[in-house]
């Protein structure tokens, strides 16, 4: 399977293995970019489909657009089992737990877990009190490394995925130190690899590595 970008039209051209049997599939660039990347290298497209849908012939991959309220964004976990440095969803935001305290059943009712957590994308502090026997949503948090190709004028970043395509929908991070590191590093022409953290349909660059020669 070969996936290549057409330099002229900007559309993605997919050459399946058995080129004689399967027709050439020209797929819209943007719709492919809306999919969530897992750590797998390549994407497969089912036979006969022009636009990839959620149900694929290969069960290992999930194509989900942003509009799809996929169940795999979070999984339930009993509040009493969530520990410090774990993840939790508070008010729809994916957060990392910095403090957990419990109070036993008493005058305040059922035993409760008091979470203090930081939103992993905008660093805001959020709190929640949950009865310890209730289930909380825990977000799936994925980290993927990409090579930095370009920074555009309007703040978008161009990244090289492992299979050779580019990912252009990410903005520069808001964190000032990281932002400065990326800009400076790129301006100096360094080879940079960024780690993109994704959870709950949101993505952001969270770390930077210099992989160039010393």
């Amino acid at each position: 399977m070969l996936v290549a970008a057409s330099p002229t039209t900007g559309s993605l051209i997919v050459f399946p293995d058995l080129a004689a049997i399967f027709p050439l599939l020209v797929v819209d660039f943007r719709s492919l970019l809306e999919v969530k990347h897992s750590s797998r290298d390549h994407v497969e497209i089912g036979s006969g489909d022009i636009i990839p849908e959620g149900n694929m012939s290969d069960e290992e991959h999930h194509f989900e657009s942003k509009a799809d309220a996929g169940a795999s964004k979070t999984f339930p976990q009993q509040a009493g089992t969530i520990r410090k440095n774990g993840y939790i969803v508070i008010k729809g935001r994916a957060c990392k737990v910095v403090e957990v305290s419990t109070s036993k059943t008493g005058k305040h009712g059922h035993a409760k877990c008091h979470f203090v957590a930081i939103d992993i994308f905008n660093a805001k502090k959020l709190e929640d009190i949950v009865p310890s026997s209730h289930n909380c949503d825990v977000p799936h948090v994925n980290r993927t490394d990409y090579q930095l190709i370009d920074i555009s004028e309007d703040g978008f970043i161009s990244l090289l995925t492992d299979n050779g395509s580019t990912k252009d929908d990410l903005r520069l991070p808001t964190d000032e130190t990281l932002l400065a590191q990326i800009k400076d590093g790129f301006a100096e022409g360094k080879d940079l690899v960024v780690t993109v953290m994704s959870a709950m349909g949101e993505e952001q660059i969270c770390a930077l590595k210099d992989v160039g020669p010393k």
Binding site: K107, H108, G109, D128, I129
Partner: protein
């Protein structure tokens, strides 16, 4: 001669003895003034040869002495509170025609404030309070947060008898909370939490989205009385009969814990205590010609809150305290009615007494001899054809 001297000495000694005896007698057997029986009651207790007569027993309290006498006085004062009518005093110069109307004056009675601490609601006194509110015999209640929630919780699950000596650590491990010699299982509070959370959500919606309601402690309490919808609850009757219940420290109990947990998940509920102090003081100010009476069980917030409101009308006319607090430490809880007179919270001419007794004993007896007696007398006269 020695013998003559001795005889002279002997008679002198006798005379000295006599004088000593006379002076001692004049001290020990000092003649007393006679006590006029009009002003001084003779002491006599109840004679059980008369049989088992509750009202007779209660009548005998005045003459029994010590705190029984104070309770007898309290009964007398509360009966005066109940019996007073505007027609008992002549109209003032400036009042209008309607107020001069004798029938109207006959209908206007004394406004009674009842204050009590939350431990009494945990106890069986809650049933006595419910009786008073059910028949609208009192008009204003003031209590603490526990006085609200314990009444509601009892409708969801019961409180049990325990013992003062049960060890705390052992009780904690079993999930039992001790209030004196009563026990409240943790489970009761879990039931309360499950019951109240949806109501708080609904109240928040009414505040922000729907009706722009401004919640106050008394409005919250009326709402909870409406929601519990149980005839065993005094709050239900307070809601039904329009008896205002004030509780400025509404957060100081399990209710506060529920408000806290609710506000973390679903923030925004506001409870306005300023509006309530307007209403509470208004209860005392806007009584026009009526007299006010206060009955306070226990000390703390309910005691002071009621007395303070009455200060705005230059003092209550009748006051009965039933509590075990002492005044030697200067506390307000232990302060006797005379201290309140110095503040203008009770009138100098008021009829007052303090019964130094646990209200769990004194209050049922007080109500039996006053409110309940009048209620059943009225019921009996109504049934006589």
């Amino acid at each position: 001669m020695p013998q003559e001297e001795m005889e002279a000495a002997g008679s002198a000694g006798e005379k000295r003895d006599q004088e000593t005896l006379e002076s001692v007698r004049s001290v020990v057997f000092k003649p007393s003034i006679s006590l006029e029986e009009k002003r001084f009651t003779k002491v006599a207790g109840y004679d059980f040869n008369q049989g088992l007569d509750l009202l007779g027993l209660l009548d005998s309290l005045s003459g029994t002495g010590f705190q029984a006498s104070n309770l007898g006085d309290a009964i007398e004062i509360v009966n005066q509170m109940i019996d007073w009518r505007l027609s008992h005093q002549s109209p003032t110069e400036y009042c209008g025609e309607e107020v001069r109307n004798p029938a109207y004056r006959e209908s206007v009675g004394c406004k009674i404030f009842l204050g009590f601490t939350s431990n009494l609601v945990s106890s069986g006194i809650r049933e006595i309070i419910r009786f008073l509110v059910q028949h609208r015999m009192v008009e204003v209640l003031v209590t603490t947060a526990g006085g609200i929630e314990e009444d509601l919780i009892k409708c969801l699950a019961p409180t049990y008898r325990g013992d003062f000596s049960l060890p705390g650590a052992s009780l904690r491990s079993k999930g039992l909370n001790r209030i004196g010699n009563l026990l409240v299982p943790n489970d009761n509070y879990c039931k309360f939490e499950d019951w109240i959370m949806p109501i708080l959500d609904q109240m928040l919606t009414e505040q922000t989205l729907e009706q722009n309601v401004i919640w106050t402690p008394s409005k919250v309490i009326a709402r909870l009385g409406k929601e519990i919808n149980d005839e065993n609850s005094y709050l239900y009757w307070a809601y039904k009969n329009g008896v205002s219940v004030y509780c400025p420290a509404l957060t100081d109990g399990s209710l506060g814990d529920m408000l806290y947990c609710h506000s973390v998940r679903n923030p925004g509920l506001l409870i306005d205590i300023v509006q309530d102090i307007r209403a509470m003081n208004g209860e005392a100010i806007h009584v026009d010609q009526r007299k006010t009476g206060i009955i306070i069980l226990g000390g703390g917030l309910p005691k002071h809150h009621i007395c303070n409101a009455n200060m705005f009308r230059n003092g209550a006319d009748y006051a009965v305290y039933i509590n075990t607090a002492q005044e030697f430490d200067g506390s307000d809880s232990g302060a006797q009615p005379d201290e309140a007179i110095s503040w203008g919270k009770i009138k100098g001419s008021a009829k007052t007494t303090k019964v130094h007794c646990d209200a769990s004993i004194a209050f049922p007896l007080l109500v039996a001899a006053t409110f309940a007696k009048k209620f059943h007398k009225k019921a009996n006269t109504n049934t006589v054809c």
